[in-house]
Subunit: 312 residues, 2 copies
């Protein structure tokens, strides 16, 4: 793979290679791990490493019971160490990352992480400070409607983390003020805001995947979708909108009922804008093994576009 | 304590204060913890933090059984992370330090360490690379005779770490080639080499503390002992010698039977060379609670002299 290595960025006289860094921020159970999984699959684990920065907890589950805040509060996390570790990774250096075991709620033996060509950083707080944001080439915020996120969280925390539905709902309520103060404000620092949701004007049946609405902010250079998308495409369209704060931005809608063929055509067209051999990676768009979503696949493809483009 | 803070070193435009860093290197059971303890007592834990860099083990005790080397081998340790953390501390930054639990032999939850005015770093490898050495203002190597170190190690590892004497002896034998290759070579990078040993020409009884031989290399500026020590002092003397490699160095001998009064006089004279209020700290020189050694006290006092002098 010497050509790949040569394409990694290196400043003159510098020994370590600087990876391309992507942040995926969002509240608990907003879909970060699902989105990340497809990107790692698409790039291959030999070129890509993904870490979760929720491991920078100061307290274990037992100790948190005596604390006046939830894990969403910055004071509940070693934000300064997270900043330090993100800076080190961005410089191509290894870190000894703390590890929080979600299944037991305990802090355990740390893990040695070496950056690869691409580093994906997902979690509650990756965009929370100016220093962390400066480490990233591309930043994403996951912004599902609250009712959908609640469903996802109840489903996951009861299945995988040993909580009862009542505990999860109480937890969501306790976390709400800190979600508002510390998680949702990161949205405005993202280059791309991703919302998976049903289209309110349609009554899609439950087996239709959620649609995706991607806010593509002009803070980075996106693929030329206005050129690539034909006007008569009924399941994917691009429009200029104003964001909540009034700033202009592109908004891409990909309907849940978009066909694999339609989505595949746009994916190929986006991929052709890159100087890459071969076509787009085949293994993206999986919600769970066997369950596929074209809106998810297109979202992941656009992120892969940015990661590959950022190397140059 | 505003005056103390002002005296901490800060480079123009830099936010964090840089601590004075002391390394105490030496083989297992060479007396590092005892020496460090008196320094922390002397400075006060509000001004001083001590860390042990043997926590940077890659493997726990169980995993090490399958490894072809002992913990003395650099490949058994995250030397790169140790370098990184020492650099961060030297810059006044906090670290999330790994923790190795000697009583169970397992790697556990890491520990947040913020540098204070003084940082003491003891362990097997603090002087093992050029980058680590560059972090220190003062460097010490503990160099007891092997038979004394063996006694200390058997005593400690059976009392505190749950080994049998036979296991400790087998361990010492297994470690010997790596002691030679990786631990003892650090001796030549130390500003001060400390050897606690009986004086071979005397037959001191067992209740007389060991004498100290301090090699004071001209790599840092030592207190003017040749002026401070009178020629008729029979229990402490200074001479110029050649080190093993032929380089000239000062050698200070403090006899185990030196009286508290004699040692105290020299301590006061050394202390007077500093711009410090009050006298030398009273709580140094303890081998164990209630057991005092004047050679240890003087060794610690000379190190305190260097730490305080290095701030300026």
């Amino acid at each position: 793979m010497p050509d790949k290595i040569i394409r990694m960025r290196r400043f003159e006289g510098e020994a370590s290679l600087r990876p391309v860094m992507l942040a995926i921020a969002g509240d608990s159970a907003s879909g970060k791990t699902t989105l990340t999984g497809g990107l790692v699959d698409g790039l291959g684990s030999d070129r890509c490493v993904a870490i979760c920065v929720d491991d920078y907890h100061k307290f274990d589950r037992e100790e948190r019971k005596d604390q006046p805040f939830t894990p969403l509060h910055p004071d509940c996390n070693y934000i300064d160490i997270m900043e330090q570790h993100l800076q080190l990774l961005a410089l191509g250096r290894p870190i000894l990352k703390p590890v929080y075991d979600h299944s037991t709620g305990s802090l355990t033996r740390p893990e040695y992480v070496e950056p690869k060509e691409f580093v994906i950083v997902e979690g509650l707080h990756p965009l929370s400070t100016k220093l962390t944001r400066a480490c990233f080439d591309v930043t994403v915020f996951l912004d599902p409607p609250e009712d959908i996120r609640r469903d996802w969280k109840v489903k996951r925390d009861t299945a995988k983390r040993g909580y009862t539905p009542e505990q999860v709902c109480a937890d969501l309520e306790a976390r709400e003020p800190e979600s508002e103060s510390f998680i949702r404000p990161q949205r405005r620092h993202a280059d791309i805001v991703v919302r998976f949701a049903p289209i309110t004007s349609r009554n899609d049946s439950a087996d239709i995947p959620l649609s995706a609405e991607l806010m593509l902010r002009p803070t980075i250079q996106h693929p030329p979708l206005n050129r690539l998308l034909s006007d008569d495409n009924k399941t994917m369209h691009l429009e200029i909108v104003r964001d909540r704060d009034g700033t202009p931005t592109d908004s891409l809608h990909v309907h849940g009922h978009a066909s694999a063929e339609e989505a595949g055509q746009l994916e190929k067209a986006i991929w052709a804008e890159l100087n890459e051999e071969g076509g787009p990676p085949p293994r993206i768009g999986e919600i769970e093994p066997g369950e596929r979503s074209e809106p998810l696949a297109l979202t992941q493809l656009i992120l892969l576009y940015h990661l590959l483009q950022a190397r140059e």
